[in-house]
């Protein structure tokens, strides 16, 4: 088997010098072409600038479409998959989103179809590319405000923080051979279930005497809270590592593993699992869920430690809080209705076959609130509204629960 890293040429990188607005200083940024490509958001021309018509065909199921640029009078013949991709190119979805949508719709991925279509559309002047994120664009629009400007600088600075490696597949293959494979056995599944039950029992017993348990933090509640959060953060790396092992388990390639600031402000570890799209749906679901189960196991273990620790001690409070935060992470990772595209969300959109659920739901609800969408509900509209309502209620409940826990622990 050919190693893709060896076979393919090195990706081009461009060094840009960007001057700061407020002084004479500058920063040099290195931008890889691959990053620019997958993060670009192709935007088709405005609705009035093109026409789309179906070409009648004598062959059943063989649809073709004619796309016309009404400004330049250029015509393009599109296949059904190309028309699908064209509809995704709304300036909101990145190429990564679009590729995901394509896989979920057609169950396969042709690595050439998107670049080929984009080239065709660009030649016909039907497409523009917007490479920056929506958050960054929103910040740029309001740059005159000092606070927004400071926030923009902070986000830009954090966005550039990326410690990663593209040569990690060998490491994870080695880890898999030397014990990682055990995580994907029936025994491991049974162990997870047993730990979940034991953890739940331990958690329930701790809940009954919550006042005494949290009193262990009474001496230094802030230090306790911060140390619990920091320790939890490290386990996020473990979560991603298990995703990577799942890839190896299904004989797919781990393309990258690293640390970055998600959306420019959420510190997180990440693993590139895109190769799992080439595997079965079962493989995709297992890969998504297995990482989250790290939190189930750790949470249960922490609860057991808390039960065994001296009542009212710092250790007990620390272990109980760590267990709680791990199980919260499990819920957040697997619960799809929270506006965050975590593992559960990916499983949901995979099962529903609606890869752009969140962005479509937010766009529809926004239009509905501004009176620009029809209140009549079809299946998709109901799904979008259901997603937004459930997510809003869930987040409110989650915030309320945490506020209550913090107040309860510190009072």
């Amino acid at each position: 088997m050919t190693d893709p890293d060896v076979a393919s040429p090195r990706r081009a990188r461009l060094e840009l010098l960007v001057r700061r607005q407020e002084d004479d200083g500058f920063e040099v940024r290195e931008i890889g072409s691959a990053t620019a490509f997958v993060q670009s958001r192709p935007q088709r021309v405005e609705a009035g600038s093109f026409e789309l018509a179906t070409v009648p065909s004598r062959l059943a199921g063989q649809h073709r479409y004619i796309l016309k640029n009404t400004t330049t009078d250029r015509f393009l013949l599109l296949s059904e998959p190309e028309k699908f991709l064209w509809e995704q190119m709304d300036g909101h979805h990145s190429l990564q989103d679009i590729a995901t949508a394509y896989v979920l719709r057609y169950g396969q991925f042709d690595f050439d179809i998107i670049p080929a279509l984009m080239a065709k559309l660009q030649r016909a002047q039907l497409l523009t590319l917007t490479p920056t994120s929506r958050l960054r664009r929103a910040l740029a629009r309001n740059r005159r405000r000092r606070l927004v400007k400071a926030l923009e600088h902070a986000v830009m600075g954090l966005e550039r923080v990326n410690v990663s490696s593209r040569s990690v597949h060998g490491i994870f293959s080695w880890l898999y051979r030397w014990g990682g494979f055990l995580l994907f056995t029936r025994a491991a599944l049974a162990g997870c279930v047993a730990l979940a039950v034991l953890g739940a029992i331990a958690g329930a017993s701790l809940w009954d005497r919550a006042d005494v348990v949290v009193s262990g933090f009474a001496v230094s509640p802030v230090a306790g809270f911060v140390s619990v959060k920091l320790l939890f953060f490290l386990t996020v790396g473990l979560h991603q590592a298990v995703h990577a092992l799942a890839l190896v388990h299904y004989r797919r390639r781990v393309r990258e593993f690293g640390f970055t600031f998600l959306h420019g402000f959420v510190p997180t570890f990440y693993v590139d699992v895109t190769d799992i799209f080439m595997a079965s749906r079962r493989a995709r679901v297992v890969t998504a869920v297995s990482g989250a189960l790290v939190h189930l196991v750790l949470g249960a273990l922490w609860f057991l430690v808390a039960v065994a620790a001296p009542t009212g001690s710092f250790v007990q409070a620390f272990a109980a809080a760590s267990g709680l935060i791990q199980w919260q992470a499990l819920v957040i990772a697997l619960y799809p209705f929270c506006f965050i595209e975590m593992d559960g969300y990916h499983v949901l959109v995979d099962v529903l076959g609606v890869p752009t659920l969140k962005s479509d739901a937010l766009a529809f609800t926004g239009a509905l609130l501004r009176g620009r969408a029809r209140p009549a509900l079809g299946r998709m509209e109901a799904l979008w509204l259901g997603y937004v309502v459930l997510s809003t209620v869930s987040i409110a409940a989650f915030v309320a629960l945490n506020a209550w826990l913090i107040v309860h622990a510190t009072s």
């Binding site: 990706r11 081009a12 990188r13 461009l14 060094e15 840009l16 010098l17 960007v18 001057r19 700061r20 607005q21 002084d23 004479d24 200083g25 500058f26 040099v28 072409s33 691959a34 620019a36 490509f37 670009s40 190429l95 050439d112 998107i114 670049p115 080929a116 984009m118 080239a119 065709k120 660009q122 030649r123 590319l129």
Partner: protein, 166 residues
Amino acid sequence: MSTPADTERFLRDVRLFREFTAPDLAALAHSLRARSLRRGQVLFREGDPGEEMFLVRDGVVVVSKAVTGRVEQVLARVAAGDFFGEMSLFDRSPRSATVQAETDAALLVLDRVALRTLTRENPRAAAAFFEALVHVFIERLRASGDLVAEVTRWGLEATGLDVDAR
């Protein structure tokens, strides 16, 4: 503060002056001016008039060319022992790129008067200097070609443009 002897020692390792004898280097050291830059400081901007070339004695400077707005493309980094700015020295045209210090930097300035003196008073050393300069120009020309190819490749990869299909 460096002495002329320090400067002479530094010049001995600069490839442009490798064929210079000790008296040649001593004479040259006296005709060069020292200049220092703080990190981030701009030495000159694209379009500025210029009549000097610079040798980097310490630190690193970045040569960049305006692309759009506040964004410029990095053309080269010049580190200790290397030089830049020679184009305006010879053809009297405005600066073709902007140069700024990436770190605190110490430079030596060779102006037109010093170059004329070198050519007039020491033709043998001047010939060695120009020959070395030509070799560096050839290397830089090759590097420019590589940079153009790299930037073109970047553009093709970043936009997904399929040239074969055209």
